[in-house]
Amino acid sequence: MNDMVLNADEPANILVVDDTLANLQLLVGILTKHGYKVRPAKDGVQALSATQIIPVDLILLDINMPEMDGYEVCTKLKSDPKTRHIPVIFISALNDVLDKVKAFGVGGVDYVTKPFQVEEVLARVETHLALQRLQNNLQLKNTELAQTNQELANTLNRLQATQEELIQSEKMAALGQLIAGIAHEVNTPLGAIRSSVSNISKYLEEIFEDLPRFVDTLSAKEIQLILKIALCSINNKQLFSAKDSRKIKRAVTRELEEMGVPDADTIADTLSDMKISEDIESFLPILTHPDSTRMLEFAYNLSGLQRGTNTIETAVERASKVVFALKSYAHSDQKNELFKTNLIVGIDTILTLYQNSIKHGVEVVQNYAEIPLIYCYPDELNQVWTNLIHNAIQAMDNKGMLTIDVTQERGFAKISITDSGKGIPEEIKDRIFEPFFTTKPPGEGSGLGLDIVRKIVKKHLGEIEVTSVPGKTTFTVYLSMNLQPDSSS
């Protein structure tokens, strides 16, 4: 009965309790005439049992009754959860001492004194019925509200979970795109390593073939000279561009021809591969020897062992860098811990991942000031750099200039990423950080990138700004240099 809605259309149920039959009849008559459904009860016992059986919206309760007076009946009504809510209006006779305090104390909501005015009784009854109706409605609305709140809370949780899924899938999608380019970045060093290994093998083969013969047929001085040529090659660490090497080769060819060395251009080529361009006169005894070809080749093979290992070392480092960059990027960031990090290393790691796109025609300018290590969330920052660098390269259609500036300003690390693309139109500039806002066709980017970036930047107590004119768009990220991990650790 508690959840009964007092419909304004349905007549209310009123219980009238009075031990005097005449009073009962009078009230029942008045109320019935006024459209209420009325039930009489002649004492407390009848009243209490009635409330258990039939729906009651309001009780008119006589105070002065034998055995159980009105106060007792009301107390009993209020102590039963089933009947507690029913408004009770006490009826008292004029010459009864109406203890108003007691009346309200036991839970009555109002009283009428006999003789009563019909209008007054009706007015009070209607008022309390209306009040009860409103209270019921309020309770219903509260229940609805609580339900809606719960649904909202559930939806919010689902949205948050979905957002995290989207962030993760965004990361994976970007990762997928990178992998194609990375295959090349790893295959190239592998190619250099494999061919160097094959070369070293060949050199060793020939060294073992030639060495016994040389030991037998050559003088100690000649052998020493061969070794000297090899050492000369190994010690010369200068790097020349292909163009410069050709120039030097031509000069050496001329020099050799002038010295009367046969097969000058072939020898010049070999010397060039050995990075030897000076002191050639000292090698003349070898170069004019009948067995000069094999002797020079021996020196070439010996020094080739070093060249090969150098190549392998360089290539391994390159491949490691790329794998490291990939690992850093794909690393799951559930740790959510502040880590003292070198921001510049982080940015360069991401640049490594984009070597491929960069080689397609992007010039990279890096202006890095010295900044201290700062506490930050390095995995999340990786996402920031990836996002901004990726956007920059895309905006330029893989051709143009990418400038990265790192400085510090008033307690913030300041990182600017500038591209030479066509720029962001004024109208959408304010919207680019909105979640799900994207200018790409459907299927190409969720539009979450910059929203995620901004959230991460804010997590670092920082800010992100953008300025853009056609030909120069700059995203500037400020990161607080004053984040500290929990001192509780």
Binding site: H184, N187, G191, A192, I193, S195, T266, D273, N356, K359
Partner: protein, 131 residues
Amino acid sequence: MSKPVILCVDDEAVILESLKAQLRKALGSSYVYEVAQDAEEALDIIDELNEDDVSILLIVSDWLMPGMKGDEFMIRVHQKFPNIVKILLTGQADQKAIDRAYAAANLHKCLFKPWSEKELIETVKSGLEKL
């Protein structure tokens, strides 16, 4: 008559060095081995050598280089020197580009990095035999 030339083109110095050394060891001193670090440089060398009446027999080139890519380079070469044997040696397969090279430049073969010495030398020899 000067020795014919085999030209290697790759923007990565480590590749260029080891590739030339490999070819030089396998094919010997009957050829001159030239190197270039991008397509533009390679085209300059080709023109120079042509002016000096030196014949270029074969080109081994990377695909992904700054500036002109390998397929465009091969097509350009083919337009002026259709008889040069052309081999692509690439770390990344842009299939469309490779198909273009086959179609418009009469590409002899496309090899992938990392390559085996055996495969490279066999390919080069089979290409030179065609001449």
